[in-house]
Symmetry: C2
DNA sequence: GTCTATATGGGGATAGAC
DNA sequence: GTCTATCCCCATATAGAC
């Protein structure tokens, strides 16, 4: 058997299992069973489980983020300095995680789950290297959103980008929840609908007027949504 | 030492550790070290780790969901049949997870993290009992949002509620990400700001016009956000 | 109810033959 | 490069004295 074939089989199996179960819950023995290789091969090719995890991400992370940046470049070139659409920015950020997915099973695409897990598992476990690869994307997209939303205070823009990542990651990482919430009435395999609905949802969210500081007056009806709104203090 | 004191110490330590590290990554040995009790005490009082996890949730879940429903009742009584504010509904859903938090550390409230984790760890691990306790809340809030957003197709409403839970859970579960995205410029300990901003964000998102079906014409500018938007098909 | 001691299994990792 | 056999640690869980 060719060397790289074993390596790839391990990566494929690990990727699939990590995506479905998370890293901690997936043992190397499970991986080698699914890959149909020997346990020692994992350590020969990767050295450790930690290194295997990093290898699984490295294989996908660079192409994913490169594709995001490439699409962002296209958008900004098209605009030629003019304002760009929030929807296009969101699409460029979200869709590559799905488009680049290798094997769609009956469920959601593997890669989607894998990267969803990246953002939802405890941050301490994530090698800095992975976040490093994300730096350019964060910087560039924050800049782009800043230009597209010039009236939004920076603090709130950062917070909203945090929400965007959270919506994307969590919704992809736990597709079961959609079935649960909808009592099975929404097809969780229709990823295209999920993406377009997510973009509609997030674009409107990003365009919301800024939240006023504590105690100040709102420009929209938020009167009951802030500042001890429903008597939290009096209720203890 | 009184019996219940040991039990409570175990629950407190487990809750804190589960919140910070997740369930799989937290061993009983870590729990007993932090609780300063004997290993056997855990099995005496709870029987198993699985049972301990359920006990940790049970202690908080009922009060949390009861508070959510109580606030929803208040809102609907106030409205007396009239339309209710999206912001108030979101507040009633989100805020109890923070208000009921016992010990705010320097970081985000423990309970917030714990329940964030509930929705982000792989669904298979979550005892059905926990989801069962959530059923009433889902049903009641979906109904309320349906009445508040009568023009939104049900399919999309379910999907958006899925996004709402995702935003809340993921944003609370990984507060580090906010610091990362903002390069430390947003104070992640200011939970009140986080909540009000989240409500602003999600209310606007829920109010967005429905996404049009595949290929149809949009009522807002979505022309580039759907349907092979940036040449995904031609790019392979 | 609380402890010590221990059973039992699974985990990652490695040595060394082939 | 691949395999078997094994080391060693850490996990959950239990038995049984106090």
């Amino acid at each position: 058997m060719a060397t790289n074939e074993t390596r790839e089989k391990i990566l494929d199996a690990a990727e699939s299992l990590f995506a479905r179960q998370g890293f901690g819950a997936t043992s190397l023995r499970t991986v080698i069973a699914e890959a149909d290789v020997n346990l020692a091969a994992v350590h020969y090719h990767f050295g450790s489980k930690e290194a295997l995890i990093r290898a699984v991400f490295s294989r996908r992370l660079a192409p994913l983020n490169a594709e995001r940046l490439r699409r962002l470049d296209d958008i900004e070139n098209d605009a030629a300095g003019a304002a760009v659409s929030i929807e296009r920015l969101l699409d460029a950020f979200i869709r590559p995680a799905v488009v680049l997915a290798p094997g769609g099973t009956d469920e959601a695409p593997i890669l989607t789950l894998l990267f969803g897990r990246l953002h939802t598992e405890p941050g301490n476990n994530l090698p800095q290297l992975i976040y490093d690869q994300f730096d350019d994307v964060v910087t560039r997209f924050v800049e782009a959103f800043t230009r597209a939303l010039p009236d939004l205070p920076l603090d709130e823009l950062y917070t909203r980008f945090h929400f965007v990542i959270g919506t994307m990651a969590s919704s992809f990482a736990d597709p079961q929840r959609l079935a649960y919430v909808s009592r099975g009435r929404v097809d969780r395999r229709d990823v295209e609908s999920l993406i377009t609905r997510m973009i509609t949802f997030l674009a409107a969210a990003l365009r919301a007027p800024a939240t006023r500081p504590h105690g100040a007056e709102a420009t929209v009806d938020l009167s009951s949504a802030t500042g001890d709104p429903i008597g939290a203090g009096a209720r203890e």
